[in-house]
């Protein structure tokens, strides 16, 4: 059993409040990703879970036990750092053994644990090297090995992949995923990279200015972002946010947007509850459409909107098509060679995936 409950936790340095009443709760085996830009408080929160930073208010419970006043070593956690934090004067083996030595584990047991971890991470041949003789990816493995031998209730990762190059980052990501699958330990993982969050997490907490914006499964966060901020932060290219007006005609709810020089276009059948629709009828809203929810109007299907294509960016599997709508720049992900710059394009929208936000609060309305 290794649950983590973060209960109305606050952190402030003097008058400067870094975390404002954060509450997160995850179950055993969960992979929680704290996602947000730098300065959002995610690393502070992680350090507080680890016991490296003090808690100003609220409670943190690991496996049901309040750990607020426990020192890091008594919290039964392990942590992997962005800079790996390998002890530079010790060999890989000594690095991994260091914590066990302090806990007074006998040499044979230590040796066994090191072996197991080394096999798991395929680094048995590196054990007698110094950190300075290792590549970035190898150091990352050692750092993870050091965490694994601890057999903690909770793994903490602080942006572990951000010092690696792009290729290695993808490989290590898979490695971490595999590790999680094999060990089944609860993990808290801090990153600013939304792809890592999507690929790794079972739960994502998107943070901004010390406040959790949304805490949910990654797919939910992606499909139903809680607000414009989350919508824009998750996904690449990010969700298009187009100003528009909500129209209600009977049971059909539509979002009306402007298209330059061509008048208005109507996106009909937006999934909004009748009460909300009544409340927002005729009001200004923000319409959120993911790029992949556009498609080319083919055959006799009537296009939702016809636009003048501004720029075309082929990525290989898809082509990104950029145009303007209600003054906002909009990107659509289309199959290759279906549109070209300066020409017009007739597009359909998967209205079931369209998300509507309040124009003022920028929160999602259902």
């Amino acid at each position: 059993m290794s649950t983590l409950e973060i209960d109305r936790v606050r952190k402030s340095y003097g008058i400067h409040e870094v975390l404002k009443e954060v509450s997160i709760s995850i179950g055993t085996g969960d992979f929680l990703v704290l996602l947000g830009p730098s300065g959002c408080g995610k690393s502070t929160l992680l350090n507080m879970i680890a016991g490296l930073d003090s808690i100003t208010g609220g409670e943190i419970r690991i496996a049901g036990k309040v750990v607020n006043d426990l020192s890091p070593k008594d919290r039964d956690i392990a942590m992997v750092f962005q800079s790996y934090a390998l002890y530079p004067t010790m060999t890989v083996r000594q690095n991994i053994e260091f914590g066990m030595k302090i806990r007074g584990i006998t040499p044979p047991e230590r040796d066994k644990a090191v072996r197991t971890a080394a096999d798991l991470l395929q680094m048995s041949h590196l054990l007698d090297r110094k950190p300075s003789q290792l590549s970035g990816g190898q150091r990352q493995r050692v750092a993870m090995g050091r965490a694994i031998v601890r057999q903690p209730k909770l793994f903490l990762f602080d942006e572990p992949l951000s010092n690696l190059d792009a290729k290695l980052r993808v490989d290590m990501r898979t490695e971490i995923k595999r590790l999680h699958a094999r060990l089944g330990t609860t993990i808290v993982y801090v990153t600013h990279d939304q792809i890592e969050a999507m690929t790794l997490a079972t739960r994502v907490a998107v943070m901004k200015d010390g406040v959790v914006q949304q805490l949910d499964e990654p797919q939910v966060v992606y499909d139903r972002p809680a607000n414009v901020y989350v919508a824009k932060f998750v996904g690449s290219p990010s969700m298009n946010i187009i100003p528009g007006v909500l129209e209600v005609q009977g049971t059909v709810v539509s979002a009306v947007v402007d298209i330059a020089k061509r008048g208005s276009a109507r996106i009909s059948g937006v999934a909004v509850s009748p009460e909300t629709a009544r409340k927002y009828a005729g009001k200004r809203v923000l319409v959120g459409i993911r790029p992949e929810n556009f498609s080319i109007a083919a055959g006799d299907i009537r296009p939702t909107l016809t636009v003048d294509v501004d720029v075309v960016e082929p990525t290989g599997p898809d082509t990104l098509v950029v145009f303007h709508c209600s003054g906002a720049e909009v990107t659509a992900r289309l199959p290759p060679k279906q549109a070209s710059a300066g020409r017009e394009a007739a597009l359909c929208v998967d209205t079931s995936k369209v998300v509507i936000f309040d124009a003022d609060t920028e929160n999602r309305i259902d």
Binding site: P72, K73, Y87, F98, G99, R150
Partner: protein, 292 residues
């Protein structure tokens, strides 16, 4: 095309000539005093008084060295520099170890265990680096007297340690600040405590700056004259005081060759330290003694 290549080669050659020429000329300037000292120490006194100061000796003799080491008189004690050399060693070794050790742990605290006011404390400490020591001799003498340490080598060790802390703390603090805090955090999570982290993680990683600190302290303490002459007497004097007594004969015929040999003897330990460890000194300076 060919002429261009030629002129390029010529200008390159001229450039190298300029570089080596300047470096060698400067080297000659820097070696001059050493040359004078060595040459003089190998001459006989008669040759020197006959007017040969800078030139090569006509006949090399080590008489002056023997005399300086074992026979030269300071007051009525004619044991040469030997006992004072030992005094200096007895003073410099504990003082270097103590001041470097304290500086290391101070630097560790000031970077990895900061607390409110720790920066202010560091500032206070740093100002101590720049204290003109003449200003503190008398109060220090009173303090040593009340500690019953006046006139003793332990007393000197204490003084050098106190005034060495400022510099060594500066060295270590600036070095440790370049070591990521994550390292101490990782060790904390591994269960290491305050001292364990210091001895197992920080200290082994601080080797370059330990060398810098030791060299600096060694030369400062070995070469110190002011504290030595103020706080010791007679047989417990360090070598610089003994050297001064040999060299600064107020009334009498100067034995320049013995003076120079004595000066060389007094300089040998620091010279050796610099020649052996000078490389590390420059490297250590890069590594954080001076913030780049």
């Amino acid at each position: 095309m060919n002429t261009e290549a030629n002129s390029a080669r010529r200008s390159h050659l001229l450039g190298r000539l300029f570089i080596y020429g300047s470096l060698l000329a400067l080297a000659a300037f820097y070696l001059m005093p050493l040359w004078v000292m060595i040459v003089t120490s190998l001459k006989s006194l008669d040759e020197i008084y006959a007017g040969s100061f800078v030139g090569l000796p006509k006949a090399i003799t080590f008489e002056a060295w023997e005399k300086a080491w074992g026979q030269a008189c300071i007051g009525t004690a004619c044991d040469g520099l030997r006992p004072y050399f030992i005094n200096s060693l007895l003073m410099v070794i504990p003082a270097v170890i103590l001041s470097t050790g304290i500086g290391a742990i101070n630097g560790y605290i000031l970077t990895k265990w900061r607390f409110p006011g720790s920066n202010f404390f560091f500032g206070m400490l740093l100002f101590g680096c720049f204290l003109p020591f003449q200003a503190v001799i008398l109060p220090m003498a009173q303090l040593l007297g009340s500690l019953r340490l006046s006139g003793t080598i332990p007393g000197l060790v204490l003084v050098h340690t106190v005034y060495g802390i400022s510099f060594t703390t500066l060295f270590f603090r600036n070095y440790f600040i370049t070591i990521p805090d994550e390292l101490t955090r990782a060790a904390q999570i591994d269960g290491a405590g305050f001292f364990r982290i210091f001895f197992s993680v920080m200290l082994p990683a601080a080797l370059p700056i330990i060398v810098v600190s030791c060299i600096w302290q060694f030369t400062q303490i070995w070469n110190d004259f002011l504290f030595g002459v103020s706080f010791t007497a007679g047989q417990s004097s360090p070598i610089t005081v003994a050297l001064n007594n040999i060299v600064n004969v107020t009334m009498g015929r100067k034995q320049y060759n013995v003076d120079m040999a004595a000066a060389m003897i007094a300089a040998i330990p620091t010279l050796v330290v610099y020649i052996v460890a000078g490389r590390y000194f420059v490297r250590g300076l890069t590594a954080g003694a001076v913030k780049g």
